[in-house]
Amino acid sequence: MLVQEFLTHSATRLPRKVALVCDNRRLTFAELDAMTNRLGNALVDKGVRRGDRVAIYLRNSVEAAVGIFAALKAGGAFVLIDASTKPDKLRSILSQCRATALMADSRADAGELVDLLRGVPSLTCGVLCGPVGPDTDARLHLFDEIQIDSAATPLPSVNVDQDLACLVYTSGSTGEPRGVMCDHGNVDFASTSIMTYLENREDDIVLGVLPLSCSYGLYQLLMTVKFGGTLVLERSFVYPALILQRIQEERITGFPGVPAIFAILLQMDRSAFDLSSLRYITSAADALSPSHIRGLQDAFPGVSLYSMYGLTETARALYLPPSQLASRPDSVGIPIPGTEAWIEDEDGRRVGAEQTGELVVCGRHVMRGYWESPEATARRFRPGAVPGERLCHTGDLFRTDEEGHFYFVSRMDDIIKCRGEKVAPKEVEAVLHMLPGVTAAVVGVPDPIGGHAVKAFIVSRGDPLTESEVIAHCRAHLEDVKVPTYIEFRSELPMTPSGKVSRIGLT
């Protein structure tokens, strides 16, 4: 099945059912289908062809949801770029994936969008969501005008399910952006598998507070559209009380979150809210601690809690059936339906229970590799025993118990998981090294609300630096989650015998 058919099939079956609640709007499947046709036709008209990349630099919004399906209907692959991405990185991603079209909102005002259109040679079309500014360019179009002027006629299907549906950008070990290539078959398979174990139904109403730019957030939209449910899409989790109110008002049944979100919720007074509509809660992106599990079970009695493990390279890999939560709360469970996983030692041999090794994942959800990064692809995606089979070597250390349930042990690289997002110490250090006379080492330290926080150790041999100057510099060059929470100035840093800065022993 092609991913855009998630929408066209549901629109045929349930045209008048509400598919998306977002930005104070309630869109039915028929309306969402028509809006995506209008934008899809416009994209084709502006030159988007089969396989072309359509970049979507938008926060969670109606326009972003429409853009995703419109890109697919036009025969292209969508590329969501997180709205907190700074201009330099945005430009580098657009150039790296050679995007043909770019959707952006008024944050990147028309002037910036025009600059990008002129600065990234592959871009032939910009779609601005929001008011138009004084700058203009023949390649710049307005989302609202397209929704009035462009035809809502269905587009002819031009894809096969081996075509790429999307690139999902993630951080490599040095922080360089890597686009995970997901074909239609990958996305269809992963969606169906996840929906199967969550037992999703048409009357599920799912809360989308996670960014569509991450795989976990994206699949909430794709799956809800596929099973004919309703997605209540929120900008973010900035205002927790507002989110609890949305659960009450919209009678939310499914709440996907990350441990950092649950930690905040558990500290709040929730007594004023009726949260009885909830059927399930899912947690991924970071380990859910036993105390959070107990807290969630007490706070939401009768709600199924799914502790899960995933990575962009396979969307999801493991989930713990809620019935197992009491007996093995620290496990992330078993492979998702229709897939297989095992643990290998350094020599590639499968190990037995209670032995630690790298998690290897096998199944149709193993994505196609990293966009134009053959070396990184060869390390992560390796051939299996059967010709044509692709395995994902996750880079994460796991062990299993005697019954085959998986337990996360640690990462094999030095990536820090902060509030569920990957932070490469090397990327933060590179930004700090832009400051004259600065040598820096970046590590993860325990965060009071769970997971890790970024801490930078700095030796400054140039002009005197203050903590706030360092933070301001980082804010200008890094996404929020990567900005150090803690800064410590030192007179020197530990060194390796070869003279490199060593992070070992820094806490």
Partner: protein
């Protein structure tokens, strides 16, 4: 207790120093939505709450941390005045 005239400049100054890294000060309107315009990203709001509590000697309850109180210089100033029990 602060007056409205004293509060807004402190907020603007805090935002420009900590979020805009701009020498030109706070160049948005006092009605500009922090979230919509992207002045503050999601994690920055936690710092904003701490700043408001420390700087203005008030305590922000869970249910008070909502856009009506926090999403612009105007709304935040009005909220602080209400919490301090003064202002006109």
């Amino acid at each position: 207790m602060d007056t409205a005239n004293a509060i807004a400049p402190k907020i603007r100054d805090y935002l420009s120093r900590n979020f805009l890294f701009s020498d030109e000060g706070f160049h948005y309107g006092d009605d500009a939505s922090f979230l919509e315009v992207g002045i503050i990203d999601s994690f920055g709001f936690l710092e904003l709450v701490h700043f408001v509590e420390d700087e203005f000697g008030i305590s922000v309850a869970d249910h008070e941390f909502v856009p009506d109180n926090f999403d612009s210089v105007c709304k935040l100033s009005a909220f602080i005045i209400r919490k301090q029990g003064g202002g006109t």
